[in-house]
Subunit: 121 residues, 2 copies
């Protein structure tokens, strides 16, 4: 199979990508940003369980990696928004592929689940 | 965009999937297995930098998650092989999408790189 053969050599770029996206909570934050969340408070609401400290750390990492830009809007009070860059949006097919796999292969959680999230495809 | 809207709610199954694949070295091990590596020594060779201890731990996790089966072949000496299950192979589109993104957006490494790995697409 051609695709398999092309994976044979170790690829440091793939490795860097998977370790970046795979950091704790990074995948969930990325998914929430792809859904259109731009504010810290929106992200925090969309991702139950992530602490403000960790969310803040991950957003800084994403900014340093060029996945998002942080915009300060001069209002009172000052408003801060996070927007994915082209590089960040380009991760959409990865998130979609993983979401598809999860729907097919990861069993639905049955306790303490937000309504409407866990129905099978 | 329909795809984005469908991401709005937090999805524990997606979250579990990304945290599983994203564990340190898991992405690289999965990629090597998709390339057809079945032996511990092959995996160890294909993934420079991973310790035997961590590789062994990750293979046990993959087995516990049903991504691979461990087969003991009764030869002298005993031969052990790891084969991806259907669930494990189903991650191929995820690895492909991430590899494509990495080729487009992660800069090639220039030092200490194995020959032939880092050419641009």
């Amino acid at each position: 199979m051609a695709t398999e053969t092309s994976f044979a050599a170790f690829c440091p770029r793939y490795h860097r990508a998977v370790e970046l996206i795979g950091r704790r909570w990074s995948g969930a934050i990325l998914r929430a940003m792809l859904s259109g969340a731009h504010r810290f408070s929106q992200l925090s609401e969309l991702i139950p369980g992530v602490s403000d400290r960790l969310l803040s750390e991950r957003l800084k990492e994403f900014e340093a990696e060029g996945l998002l830009v942080r915009t300060v809007i001069a209002e009172t009070p000052v408003r801060i928004e996070y927007h994915l860059t082209e590089k960040g949006y380009a991760l959409l097919p990865v998130v979609e592929a993983l979401a598809t796999w999860a729907e097919a292969w990861i069993a639905p959680v049955t306790d303490d689940s937000p309504a409407g999230v866990l129905s099978l495809p």
